[in-house]
């Protein structure tokens, strides 16, 4: 097999010859990822149920923890890195995240505005939203 400076497929580690030399470190990467994910998940469940934290700030904290955990999964399980062989994967991911942000953020923004501006009273809002 000739060595060429190809891009790396998403989720792929290394060609077989190098992958075999890397086998123990592969286990380490997945285990570190699992460890971090468990910590973040446990923190999320704790934060949602504790009374120690300021309640209105909890949803924001949960969102941050979720995004952090998604990052952990991407790096340690899907092997998305910042290396030069991963540029295509990262660009595709960035475009996907842009669309996700637009869809979720845009929907919430416009619906909040509609609810705030176009519904004169709480009763009418209940009529509108509860059917």
């Amino acid at each position: 097999m000739t060595d060429t400076h190809y891009d790396r497929g998403p989720g792929d580690t290394l060609p077989f010859a190098q992958a075999q030399a890397q086998a123990p470190s592969g286990v380490v990467i997945y285990t570190v990822g699992l460890f971090l994910a468990v910590i973040l998940t446990a923190t999320s469940f704790w934060a949602a149920n504790t009374s120690l934290l300021w309640a209105p700030g909890v949803p924001l904290g949960l969102a941050v923890l979720a995004i952090a955990q998604i990052g952990v999964h991407l790096v340690f399980f899907l092997h998305i890195t910042t290396g030069p062989d991963n540029t295509n994967n990262v660009l595709a991911l960035a475009f996907g995240m842009l669309i996700v942000t637009l869809v979720i953020g845009g929907s919430l923004w416009i619906m909040t505005n509609l609810n705030a501006n176009m519904m004169p009273s709480a009763e009418l809002m209940n009529l509108q939203m509860q059917h």
Binding site: D3, T4, H5, Y6, D7, G9, P10, G11, D12, T13, L14, F16, Q18, A19, Q20, Q22, A23, S25, G26, V27, I29, Y30, G33, L34, A37, V38, T41, S44, F45, N49, A55, V58, L62, A63, A66, I70, H73, F77, L78, H79, T81, T82, G83, D85, N88, N89, A92, L93, F95, G96, V100, V103, I104, G106, S107, L108, M111, M129, Q130, H131
Partner: protein, 210 residues
């Protein structure tokens, strides 16, 4: 990252750049295409998340999330899916070094954990439907069943795919086509876990938080 470092140590000066090296190998093209599919799948899920977030208070006088969701069962489901993601990674390593027995063992553990997740979710759905919290009850419940049910359908598809892949490994061994498909399966399974992270946060934690 240790992988990036060793990859770089191969020596850049000896390697032609990607444009000089000709077309990329099929393994790279296939997994990249599958990565694009996964991202589009995540975009579809983002629409379902948006619908759920908009409709979460539209309960039409019916039960709200705080009365319906059981955090203990959500936590067990999360643990099952996270552990199965880990064993799926172990399976990928076994495939990479062509250890057939280890591949079967980790695939079996992945399947059992995924099936346990699905059983818990179906049990939860059945309990909700039994007390009248059906998808027809309110816009909130329609959005809930669409979002969580769609993820559940993906998990079901993943379980079927895993069984098919093990049959292929048994028949064909680790020939390149089979190991490409196994890599795509691993991507799919990890992506499902990523969606579940958003899902348990938005639905089960934010929905129950005061």
């Amino acid at each position: 990252m240790s992988i990036a470092v060793t990859f770089d140590e191969v020596g850049h000066q000896a390697l032609p750049s990607a444009s000089e090296a000709g077309p990329a190998s099929k393994r790279i093209v296939v997994t990249y295409g599958f990565w694009i599919f996964l991202l589009s799948d995540i975009v579809m899920f983002s629409a379902l998340f948006a619908a759920y977030a908009v409709l979460v208070h539209a309960t039409a006088g019916g039960p709200a999330g705080a009365q319906l969701f059981n955090q203990r069962s959500a936590a067990i489901e999360t643990a099952c899916l996270l552990a199965s993601s880990y064993t799926c990674g172990m399976m990928s390593l076994a495939v990479g070094s062509r250890r057939r027995a280890a591949t079967y063992v980790f695939a079996a553990v992945t399947f059992v954990l995924g099936a346990a997740f699905l059983a818990l979710e179906l049990h939860e759905f059945a309990g909700m439907i039994a007390i009248g919290a059906t998808p027809q009850r309110s816009a909130f419940l329609s959005a809930f069943f669409t979002l969580v049910g769609c993820h559940g359908l993906h998990v079901t598809a993943g379980l079927i795919w895993l069984v098919v892949m093990m049959a292929q490994v048994a028949v064909m061994g680790f020939r390149p086509s089979a190991s490409r498909r196994l890599l795509c399966f691993a991507l799919f399974w990890h992506a499902l876990d990523i969606i579940w992270v958003g899902l348990f946060t938005v639905v089960y934690l934010m929905g129950v938080a005061p």
